[in-house]
Symmetry: C3
Subunit: 326 residues, 3 copies
Amino acid sequence: MTPPEYTYPAGALAFPHRGLTGIAGLAPHQIWFLLDEAEQWVEMNRGAQKRVELLSGMTIINAFFENSTRTLLSFEIAGKRLGADVVNMAVATSSVKKGETLIDTAMTLNAMRADAIVIRHASSGAVQLIADKVDCPVLNAGDGQHEHPTQALLDALTIRQAKRAFNGLRVTICGDILHSRVARSNILCLASLGADVRVCAPPALMPADIEQMGVTVFHDFDAALKGADVVMMLRLQMERMEGQFIPSPREYRHLYGLTLDRLELAESNALVMHPGPMNRGVEIDSNVADHVERSMITTQVEMGVAIRMACLDVLTRKGRKMEGWA
Amino acid sequence: MTPPEYTYPAGALAFPHRGLTGIAGLAPHQIWFLLDEAEQWVEMNRGAQKRVELLSGMTIINAFFENSTRTLLSFEIAGKRLGADVVNMAVATSSVKKGETLIDTAMTLNAMRADAIVIRHASSGAVQLIADKVDCPVLNAGDGQHEHPTQALLDALTIRQAKRAFNGLRVTICGDILHSRVARSNILCLASLGADVRVCAPPALMPADIEQMGVTVFHDFDAALKGADVVMMLRLQMERMEGQFIPSPREYRHLYGLTLDRLELAESNALVMHPGPMNRGVEIDSNVADHVERSMITTQVEMGVAIRMACLDVLTRKGRKMEGWA
Amino acid sequence: MTPPEYTYPAGALAFPHRGLTGIAGLAPHQIWFLLDEAEQWVEMNRGAQKRVELLSGMTIINAFFENSTRTLLSFEIAGKRLGADVVNMAVATSSVKKGETLIDTAMTLNAMRADAIVIRHASSGAVQLIADKVDCPVLNAGDGQHEHPTQALLDALTIRQAKRAFNGLRVTICGDILHSRVARSNILCLASLGADVRVCAPPALMPADIEQMGVTVFHDFDAALKGADVVMMLRLQMERMEGQFIPSPREYRHLYGLTLDRLELAESNALVMHPGPMNRGVEIDSNVADHVERSMITTQVEMGVAIRMACLDVLTRKGRKMEGWA
């Protein structure tokens, strides 16, 4: 698929970072390039032969300092389908528990001669900290409230497959914008691709200076939905559900839950998205989540494996003596 | 090995289900077919070269919602020896803990384009629930008190190798029949193959309508052992050992434990079986468990890998465009 | 690299044990042989192609009854880079928790037809107990306060690369000598290779009869450092840091911590080593641990993968019908 908005400039692969710690810093054509690269894996993954030997002999370490079954599974499957040796470092048993510093753990993984390290960490910036210390490319699988770049890329791929272009596309992101790395990476990615991004949250869950990211701010979900081409719901974290941020799940649903009625306010072919895992009946109703034509939620999961394959492939090209991510 | 009892009818591979959620519903010749298929893997696993590329490029996900080291290991080894990419979903870190529904978890695994999903779950029927929702074959690795089909198949294979035929073979199953999916699947399997199945348990651990499954009911272990060709002991779950079901482990051993003396009541070449892990000194004495000629307990473990290889192979044949499990 | 001290006698591969449960019992030329074998893997691991098919079709089971992320990762990567199928038995979910005996667990792993089993266990001697019961070679990844042979081998390889020979090399090992299997295996290994080994610890953490191992005993760290060619610091276990053994981490650092000042007492090109994970600011200061020229700490990790590859290769040769470890 050739992009309608972008043509690859010469040196399209000369990315600013060696790893992928965030969407910030990526040029639009670089995002587009990663989406293009992912398409081949979408195709392959639908057949019975789902493995190539592209990264054969390379070692990928998934170091998840924060639990996440689906993201870990997605990266593990992605690496294995590319033919790499994939090893998972379990946080529960890690030396981190013995008081080892994060940097020491990173240096250890590096010394084992990993070809790529995928990191998830509860602290914003932890991934960059590690990326600065190791010799191989580092892929951010979510760090604190900072970024979750592969989630934004898989969301963009999901949208592109249905809508083909991003220019002027109205995307409404609703939920806990303040604490969400998914929201942050998606805003950066979608704005960069030319979409018209709207964010909607209760005042207590909206960052103060969010307009500077080029988005339109809403507190009224109905207004935010009007004319939307894509509705992206965020997971409401349990720990926000009571007390200072949200009066109750029931109240949250009343004001910010995506119901079938409310979906009517958006465009008639609007896509519904959610990064999962969902709280059904809180931020999204089951008849919306399971809507055969509108819900893209399982498609997002499928695109996730393809995007992670694309990222792992591109990031390790230099290690394979190919032109690649610098 | 050609079966003495069955010849394969035309369309032997036209199995009623796409997955394997239980022994119930399998025709005797289908059970026999799976045992035959397993024989080649028993052979291969005894050599130094234990891997084929049969399922190369396929992805198998082991989703164990209930802990089980040995069954998980067995399935993981089976999948890897067939050349598949195997990923384990760890329950302890799963989104299930975040309140995700079982169906959403299943849909996620499905969207990652698994070629087979192996599931263990504490609730009876959970595996069928998932099987109904996903596109790939599902293999039941034990669900609640319902079924554990690969255990029954590996037990049948173990018996067949020693006894060659099942017609009229007296098999005594002793233990907590009421709560045991191992007992249930074994009864279905052995009765289907023509064996004379006896069940023995304290009254409180015997299902009310068990005779309807075609078995003979005993409460006196000595009587149940008389003339038995096979003695299959069940694991006594810790939580049953005190209180309402069993007065004490000591008392249980006295009435239902397999001692060397008691084994004398069975046929002189009777096989001793146990699905493990054993409570030595409770349901089985060490000198019985370690009996060089009679105990089949480690053989059962060995047959387990072979049976799981056979099941994974047969279940994924359709995905590989071969005639297979429909 | 040909050894200056040893030439391989005829039948160099006729090792006394089938597995590797400790350094004790190994002849010096056998240690040297394993170091030589590891060199090729050091080389390979530095390139992009890090996998050979040497152990293709073999199954290695890592059975870690005691948590250890870095050692497990190292063994897992080693096995995969040799082309083996590697499966990890997670202790947290193991049948051991269900009261199964260690021997039964071992018999189960054996029955799954493992080609090598790597074991870590909190009890001294547990690995030998298992090795006596199974048909395949067993590799000790640390058992209680007994041995941790691959740690000693990787330390020896690290030293050999920098110093080339061991004869008369002054190696100071400082820390909790009493409880440390790392110290024990290193003393056996280094003394066997001809080094002049000094051990230094507070009196409460020094074994009574340690001189019998051919080492010189120190309680004053400054004296122990004088003229040392290698300084090997041991991790201070948290549980020893307060109460009966050590007054406080601060006091420990004062007496036995390796500071930059103290390092001056050793030879000007002395190597600094630590098995990790480190307690920075307790047994070792950060400016020592991160010393560009002197610290070998990440090199040790790198050598760890190579040594484990060498051990897994050599131990499984007999299974591959090659001359090998008897």
